[in-house]
């Protein structure tokens, strides 16, 4: 292997990969929590609440995620100084807004697919609305949510690359920085172009993470429905 490969690969894996994983982890957790909450609340027959959540879902599913990233990263700070985030945090927040809208829509469907008898039986046992949903309805709905959830995880991991656009150090940005370093004229760089190898490597890295997950989603879809 040529000499330049090892430091490039190490930089991508040691500096870039943790960024990608951090953004993805925050985005997945945040999307799940907010999405399941909103999706469940949407099944309450209270029109203003339903309309509000519907608007949230349609806006953040409708906007290109990059535009949401810009709104969070460039727009919010001009509203108030306390909304100034780093690029990785900004991208995570944008992905939570988008992901939670996806999860909310899926949760609404899953909760509504639970037969009404389940709600009634839980009520008869003395559960209130919160107990009924957290102990009876949601555990059953979550089973149906698992396949779309794994697909969402894949989407979030791939869309974490949007942090690159605002300069967040994740895998793609790490690759881009190394690409620029190698392209620079010696003694700073090598004066060589290795864009194909570097971005190809980044693509392979994402493929190795995503492919098992998309397979898993396909298997879950067959087994759980």
């Amino acid at each position: 292997m040529p000499d330049w490969v090892e430091p490039v690969a190490r930089y991508i894996l040691q500096e870039g990969l943790p960024g990608t994983l951090r953004v993805s982890a925050i985005a997945v957790l945040g999307s799940a929590l907010i999405g399941i909450l909103f999706g469940t609340l949407m099944t309450i027959r209270f029109l203003p609440l339903q309309a509000l959540i519907r608007l949230y879902i349609e806006v953040f599913r409708g906007l290109p995620i990059l535009v949401t990233v810009f709104i969070v990263y460039f727009g919010l700070p001009s509203v108030s100084r306390q909304f100034e985030f780093g690029p990785l945090t900004g991208a995570s927040i944008a992905l939570v807004l988008w992901g939670s809208a996806q999860v909310a829509e899926a949760t609404r469907g899953a909760v509504q697919s639970i037969p009404h008898e389940q709600h009634e039986a839980a009520s008869a046992l003395g559960f209130g609305w919160v107990g009924r949903h957290s102990f009876v309805v949601l555990p059953q709905a979550l089973r149906r949510l698992l396949p779309p959830f794994v697909s969402l995880l894949v989407n979030i991991i791939q869309n974490s690359t949007l942090a690159q656009v605002i300069g967040g150090l994740e895998v793609l940005e790490a690759g881009e920085r190394q690409n620029e370093r190698l392209t620079a004229i010696p003694p700073i760089g090598l004066g060589e172009i290795h864009a194909f190898e570097i971005f190809g490597g980044v693509a392979v890295l994402f493929f190795l993470i995503s492919f098992p997950l998309t397979r898993l989603a396909a298997v879950l879809e067959k087994r759980l429905i």
Binding site: E58, V59, G62, L63, P64, I65, L66, V67, F70, I71, F74, G75, S78, V79, V154, Q158, N159, S160, T161, L162, Q164, V165, L172, E176, N179, I193, H194, A195, F196, I198, F199, G200, V202, A203, F206, F207, S210, F211, T214
Partner: protein, 224 residues
């Protein structure tokens, strides 16, 4: 210090021509890519549904690669990596080519599912009437399966449209790049973001509404 004022109207009217050009470029790139993705999806989807050897396996590989790598990385590959082999494209070509490749992969899955959903009975009936394989496809599988695949393929086209915003990274002057470049000069960040949000939502919501309309119009008689 600069006093922050919000004047959407001033932003839009002072930069009307640039913004309209940006919107036009967004629509142009999306249009090119959607037409391309339609044909790629139709042909490769048919190959997959009919298990045509070699083409079918190659298509499966193409779909998996596109589905499991970020589109931003795909754009970087086309824009920064291909020139290494003498394949230099201008920004407009990279823009429509990358989203077309992306959309074509997802669309081939939409069409494959649509064609496979066409009942075997119909094809047997066509066969009994003396239709050859091509005539059966064109007269039976395509019209019925195409209708089944239509809603999901429009969803893919909507994603194609949204993904054209990523051409910001290669500096192609579509809507997102144009609007943000203006705000970099004038510091009208909020106005610029409002224009982007409103325009994209208007486009996406219109297309989504058209799905619902088409779904009821084009639903197969037996599923009504």
């Amino acid at each position: 210090m600069l006093v922050a004022t919000y004047d959407l109207w001033a932003f839009v009217s002072e930069n009307r021509d640039e913004l309209l050009d940006g919107l036009l470029n967004t629509l142009k790139v999306s249009g090119f890519a959607i037409v391309g993705a339609f044909f790629i999806g139709g042909v490769l989807g048919a190959a997959r549904a009919h298990r045509i050897p070699v083409v079918s396996q190659l298509t499966a590989a193409y779909v998996e690669v596109v589905r499991n790598t970020p589109i931003l990385v795909q754009i970087f590959m086309i824009f920064y990596a291909l020139p290494q082999f003498g394949l230099v494209f201008d920004q407009f070509t990279v823009a429509w080519l990358s989203v077309m490749i992306w959309g074509g992969a997802f669309n081939s899955e939409n069409f494959r599912a649509g064609f496979q959903a066409v009942s075997y009975r119909y094809r047997e009936a066509a066969h009994a009437l003396g239709f050859g394989p091509l005539a059966t496809f064109l007269n039976i599988t395509l019209p019925i399966g195409g209708r089944i695949a239509l809603p999901s393929s429009i969803n893919t086209y909507i994603s194609v449209l949204k993904n054209t915003s990523l051409m910001y990274v290669i500096g192609y002057a579509e809507l997102t790049t144009t609007s943000l470049n203006i705000s970099n000069l004038t510091l009208q960040t909020m106005e610029s973001l409002t224009v982007l949000a409103v325009t994209y939502l208007a486009l996406v919501w219109t297309l989504s509404a058209s799905i619902r309309l088409l779904e009821s119009r084009l639903a197969l008689p037996e599923s009504r």
